[in-house]
C-alpha cells in the first residue's frame, strides 16, 4: 500500500498542467513594441521578452525536439542561458524586467531539470505529442509481467509480516535479492530499448518529410516501454526499501 489512512485529503490534482506546444506566432515586444522573434530576448531591442505562453522545454533551451542529447552540450547551453537570464543579473533592473527574469530563469531551470534526464525527456516528449494524457486508452501490460509484479509484491508483504513477527528472514531476503537483480536487469533492458527508440526518433525527424508514420509508431513503442518501466521501477524501489529496512 502506498498511502496512509490518517489525514483527510485536501487537494484534487488533475495532472501536470498540459505541456505547452511551441511554434506560436511572434509576439510584440513590451519595450520597443516591435514584433519580436527571440525566445528570451527581443530580436530588435535586446530586452527580455514576455515568455510565449505555450513555449515548451525544448524551445526554452533553444534546441530541436530531439531525444539524443549530448549532456555536456546541454549543460553548456544551460549555463550560457543562466548567465543571461538569472535574477542576479537584473537586481537593479525595473520591476517588470525582474519579474521577467524570474519567469525565464525558473522555466529554464525546469526545462534543464527535465531534459537532462533521458527518461524524463522521453516522457516529456510523449506528453508534448499527446501520448500521455489522463484517462487515455492504455494497454494492459503482458500477463507474465503483472504476475511477476504481483508475486513480488506478495513476497514483500511476507517479509514485512515476518519482520513484524520476528521470524527468520534469511530465506525471504535471498528471494528478494534475486528478484531485485532480475528486475534491475529488466529495467536495464527497457532503458536500452528506450535509447534505441530515441535514436530512431531523431533519425525519423531528420528524414525527408519527417517520417510521420514512423514517428507515430515510435511514440507508441516508447509509451509502452515507459509503462513497463513504471511497474519495474516501482518494484525495484519497494524491494530496495524493504532490503534496506
Amino acid at each position: 500500500m502506498n498511502e496512509d489512512t490518517g489525514a483527510f485529503p485536501c487537494a484534487v490534482k488533475i495532472q501536470m498542467a498540459e505541456p505547452h506546444i511551441s511554434n506560436n506566432p511572434p509576439l510584440v515586444c513590451w519595450s520597443c513594441h516591435e514584433r519580436s522573434l527571440g525566445t528570451h530576448f527581443c530580436s530588435s531591442c535586446g530586452k527580455l521578452v514576455q515568455l510565449a505562453p505555450n513555449i515548451d522545454y525544448f524551445a526554452m533551451l533553444e534546441m530541436p525536439r530531439k531525444l539524443w542529447v549530448e549532456a555536456d552540450a546541454l549543460e553548456r547551453k544551460f549555463l550560457q542561458l543562466s548567465w543571461k537570464l538569472h535574477p542576479d543579473k537584473y537586481a537593479s533592473a525595473t520591476e517588470q524586467e525582474r519579474e521577467l527574469s524570474l519567469r525565464h530563469s525558473s522555466e529554464l531551470n525546469d526545462a534543464y531539470r527535465t531534459l537532462r534526464d533521458p527518461i524524463a525527456r522521453v516522457e516529456y516528449l510523449l506528453s508534448l505529442e499527446g501520448m500521455r494524457k489522463e484517462g487515455e486508452t492504455k494497454q494492459q501490460a503482458p500477463a507474465e509481467l503483472l504476475e511477476e509484479v504481483f508475486e513480488l509484491n506478495e513476497s514483500l508483504d511476507e517479509l514485512r509480516e515476518a519482520r513484524a513477527a520476528g521470524g527468520d528472514l534469511a530465506g525471504l531476503k535471498a528471494r528478494l535479492q534475486d528478484a531485485e537483480k532480475s528486475f534491475q536487469g529488466k529495467l536495464g533492458a527497457v532503458d536500452a530499448a528506450l535509447q534505441s527508440g530515441a535514436r530512431e526518433w531523431d533519425a525519423a525527424l531528420d528524414a525527408p518529410g519527417g517520417a510521420p508514420d514512423v514517428r507515430k509508431k515510435l511514440l507508441e513503442r516508447m509509451n509502452e516501454l515507459l509503462n513497463r518501466r513504471a511497474y519495474l521501477r516501482n518494484l525495484t524501489l519497494n524491494v530496495a526499501k524493504e532490503l534496506a529496512a
Binding site: E3, P9, A17, D88, S92, R113
Partner: protein, 612 residues
C-alpha cells in the same frame, strides 16, 4: 540609496562585511570592541534598553533571565518543534505562543525574528559607523538546509531591522564564493559547514566560462539542529556529574550558575583545539576546584556529533552522483570545524586535506559581501546557481505527498498543477503545501494552506492552474489562474509558522523604539549639537574685544553664515547642516586668527574658531 552589506547571522556569532571598492576584496567590519564577531546574544535591561553582542554576552552570567543566545534555533519554528530544545537551552517561551514562538526577556515578549532584528540592527550600526553612511540593504546568509519558514523568518528579521533583504544566500555557497575568489579554485568542491547550531554540506561545481565564473550548487544537505552547541551541552552534563550538583549549588543563582558552567566548558573546548588538555574553571569557584579535561575526552563527547554529520554528507554526494574521491577540493567552514576531530574525520572521508586558509568564522560573511556586491552591480563576472534543499510537495489523497519540485532543483524553480473539484458546486479547493522528503504530509514540514476559490459548477469542470515558484531566496510564491477564463486568482497563503505582513510592519515600528534611532536621525542630532556649539562659540567670539578689529564686511559675512546655519539646523537634512557648519568655520577662520594673535595662546595657531 545607502550602502549594501553582507551579513552572516549566526547561531553563536554574527558578522557584517562589505567589498572594498579599491581592491575588490571582501572585508569584515570590526565592532566597537575591536572584533568582527558580534556574539548573537541579546539582553534587555530593566528600563527597556536593548543590549546586543559582547556586553550582552557578559550579561549571560549576571542577568540570564533577561538575556538570550542561540535564538537562531527558534527561527521559523512552532512551539511543538522546540520542545526538545527547551531541555537544553534556557529559552523562556511564552505560554501564549501559537504559530510563532514568543520568548520572554525580563518582562517583555519578543518573537525570534524580532530578537534577530536586534542583532541585525547592531551590525547595521557597526557598518554605518564604519562608512559614515546609511546602510539600508543587505544580503543575509542562512543555513542551506533551512526550510521555507526559517528563511521567511530570517527575511522578516531583516525587514524589522529596517533592511531591504536583497537576497538570502546559503551559508556554504557563500563560503564557496569567498574561497573561489581567494583560491581561484575550479572543479568540484565540497563545503562542510559545522557551526554553533547548524550543519550544512554542499557540493558545488566551479566553472569558468568566457563571461565569468559560475558557482553551480549540485546538491545540499544538512541538519538545522546539529552543531557545536550539542557538544557544549554534553560537556555541561559532564561537569554536573564530575562535580556533583552539590558542589555547584550555592555558588550562584540557578540560571547564573548554569551560564557560568557553560562559559567555562566553552573556554576549555577552545583551548583543546590546540592543547592536549585543559582545565574547566567555573567563574565564582576557586581555581582549586577546576576539573581537568583531555582532548581524548572531548573527542569522545564530540564523536557522536561528528558522526551525525556524515549521513548528510553521504546523501549530498549521492544526490550529486559523485564519489568522495571525485571531489577535488574540500572547504571547512564554521567555528566548530576547528575541532581537530572534525578535520580528521573529513580528511579521512574525502581522502584529501581540507582547506582552512580562510578564517572559518569570517568566510561566510565574506561570501555574503561578495553576493551583495554582485547584486549591487559591482562584481559582474560571477554567478551563483543555488538549489532548493528540500522537496516541495502537495498533500494528496490519504495524506500522501505528491512531490512537485524535487530537492536539489536549481532555483528559481517552478511547477504548475491543474486542479478541479470533486463534488458538484464545490466552491473551494483546499491546498496544503509541504516541504520535506517523507511520503506522508504529516511527516513533512507544513508550509502553508490555502483555499482556491472556484465558481460553482459540476464536479470536475473547473480548471484552476496553480503555479508554485521557489524564488532565488528559496522562498515559495504561489499564483493561481482560472484556465477557462484566464482570470488570475489571488491566493491568501496562511503561513503555517510565520508572521504575516502586518505583524512584520508593526514589529518594524516597535523595533525602532527599542533600538537606536536611524542613522540619518542620529546624524542629524549630532550635527545639530555641533551646530549649537559653534553658534555659541561664534556669538561669544563676536562679543570679545578682538572682534572689534575685524571689518564690517567680515562681520556681515559671519552674520550671514550664522543665519544660514541656524536655518539648516531647523530642517532635517544633516548633510546640509554639515555644509553650513563648514561654511561658518570658513567665515570665522580670520576672526579666530585675530583672537589668537591677541595672544590668548600661541599654541592655538592655525585652528578655526570651533576648535578654540
Amino acid at each position: 540609496m545607502g550602502r549594501i552589506v553582507g551579513i552572516d547571522l549566526g547561531t553563536t556569532n554574527s558578522l557584517v562585511a562589505y567589498v572594498d571598492a579599491a581592491t575588490g576584496r571582501p572585508k569584515c567590519i570590526p565592532g566597537p570592541y575591536g572584533s568582527a564577531l558580534c556574539p548573537s546574544v541579546v539582553s534587555l535591561d530593566a528600563d527597556g534598553g536593548v543590549i546586543v553582542g559582547e556586553p550582552a554576552r557578559r550579561r549571560l552570567l549576571t542577568q540570564p533571565e533577561r538575556t538570550i543566545y542561540s535564538v537562531k534555533r527558534l527561527m521559523g519554528r512552532g512551539p511543538a518543534d522546540v520542545r526538545d530544545e527547551l531541555k537544553l537551552f534556557p529559552f523562556r517561551i511564552d505560554a501564549a505562543s501559537q504559530n510563532v514562538i514568543r520568548v520572554r526577556l525580563g518582562d517583555k515578549v519578543f518573537t525570534p525574528p524580532e530578537i534577530s532584528a536586534f542583532i541585525l540592527r547592531e551590525l547595521r550600526n557597526w557598518a554605518e559607523a564604519h562608512f559614515g553612511e546609511t546602510v539600508d540593504r543587505a544580503v543575509i546568509t542562512v543555513p542551506a538546509y533551512f526550510n521555507d519558514a526559517q528563511r521567511q523568518a530570517t527575511k522578516d528579521a531583516g525587514r524589522i531591522a529596517g533592511l531591504e533583504v536583497l537576497r538570502l544566500v546559503n551559508e556554504p555557497t557563500a563560503a564557496a564564493l569567498a574561497y573561489g575568489l581567494h583560491e581561484q579554485q575550479r572543479g568540484k568542491v565540497a563545503v562542510y559547514d559545522l557551526g554553533g547550531g547548524t550543519f550544512d554540506i554542499s557540493v558545488l561545481k566551479l566553472i569558468s566560462t568566457t563571461e565569468g565564473d559560475i558557482y553551480q550548487v549540485l546538491s545540499t544537505n544538512g541538519d538545522t539542529h546539529l552543531g557545536g552547541d550539542d557538544i557544549d551541552n554534553e560537556l555541561i552534563a559532564r561537569e554536573w556529574t564530575k562535580r556533583g550538583r552539590a558542589a555547584l549549588a550555592g555558588v550562584l543563582g540557578d540560571a547564573e550558575r548554569s551560564q557560568a558552567v557553560r562559559a567555562a566548558v566553552i573556554q576549555a573546548k577552545h583551548a583543546l583545539s590546540v592543547a592536549q588538555e585543559a582545565m574547566v574553571q567555573v567563574a565564582g569557584m576557586g581555581a582549586e576546584s577546576s576539573v581537568r579535561i583531555t582532548r581524548a575526552e572531548l573527542e569522545e563527547i564530540a564523536r557522536p556529533v561528528v558522526e551525525r554529520t556524515m549521513k548528510p554528507v553521504r546523501q549530498a554526494l549521492a544526490d550529486a552522483q559523485l564519489k568522495p574521491e571525485e571531489i577535488e577540493e574540500v572547504v571547512l567552514v564554521g567555528g566548530t570545524t576547528r575541532t581537530p576531530l572534525v578535520r580528521e574525520t573529513v580528511e579521512k572521508y574525502f581522502g584529501r586535506k581540507p582547506h582552512i586558509e580562510l578564517n572559518p568564522d569570517e568566510v561566510v560573511a565574506l561570501g555574503a559581501a561578495l553576493q551583495a556586491d554582485i547584486l549591487s552591480n559591482g562584481t559582474q563576472n560571477m554567478l551563483l546557481l543555488d538549489v532548493a534543499p528540500l522537496s516541495l510537495g502537495i498533500e494528496t489523497y490519504g495524506g500522501a505527498v505528491a512531490k512537485i519540485i524535487p530537492r536539489n532543483s536549481t532555483i528559481p524553480a517552478s511547477a504548475q498543477e491543474l486542479y478541479t473539484t470533486g463534488v458538484d458546486n464545490q466552491t473551494g479547493i483546499e491546498i496544503h503545501v509541504v516541504q520535506g522528503e517523507r511520503e506522508l504530509a504529516r511527516d513533512c514540514r507544513s508550509l502553508a494552506r490555502f483555499t482556491l476559490g472556484v465558481p460553482p459548477a459540476p464536479a470536475g469542470l473547473p480548471r484552476i492552474e496553480v503555479k508554485f515558484l521557489i524564488d532565488a531566496n528559496g522562498i515559495l510564491q504561489v499564483a493561481a489562474k482560472d484556465v477557462r477564463t484566464g482570470e488570475e486568482r489571488s491566493i491568501e497563503v496562511q503561513p503555517s509558522y510565520g508572521l504575516d505582513d502586518a505583524e512584520v510592519e508593526r514589529m518594524l515600528e516597535e523595533s525602532i523604539e527599542y533600538a537606536e534611532q536611524d542613522f540619518a536621525e542620529r546624524q542629524l542630532v549630532e550635527a545639530r549639537t555641533e551646530a549649537e556649539s559653534i553658534l555659541t562659540a561664534t556669538a561669544k567670539a563676536l562679543a570679545t574685544e578682538a572682534a572689534a578689529r575685524i571689518s564690517g564686511e567680515e562681520r556681515a559675512a559671519i552674520g550671514a553664515s550664522v543665519a544660514a546655519l541656524k536655518e539648516s539646523a531647523a530642517g532635517t537634512d544633516y548633510k546640509l547642516v554639515r555644509v553650513r557648519i563648514d561654511e561658518l568655520n570658513q567665515a570665522t577662520t580670520h576672526l579666530a586668527e585675530v583672537m589668537m594673535n591677541s595672544a590668548i595662546s600661541s599654541a592655538l595657531e592655525g585652528r578655526n574658531l570651533a576648535e578654540v
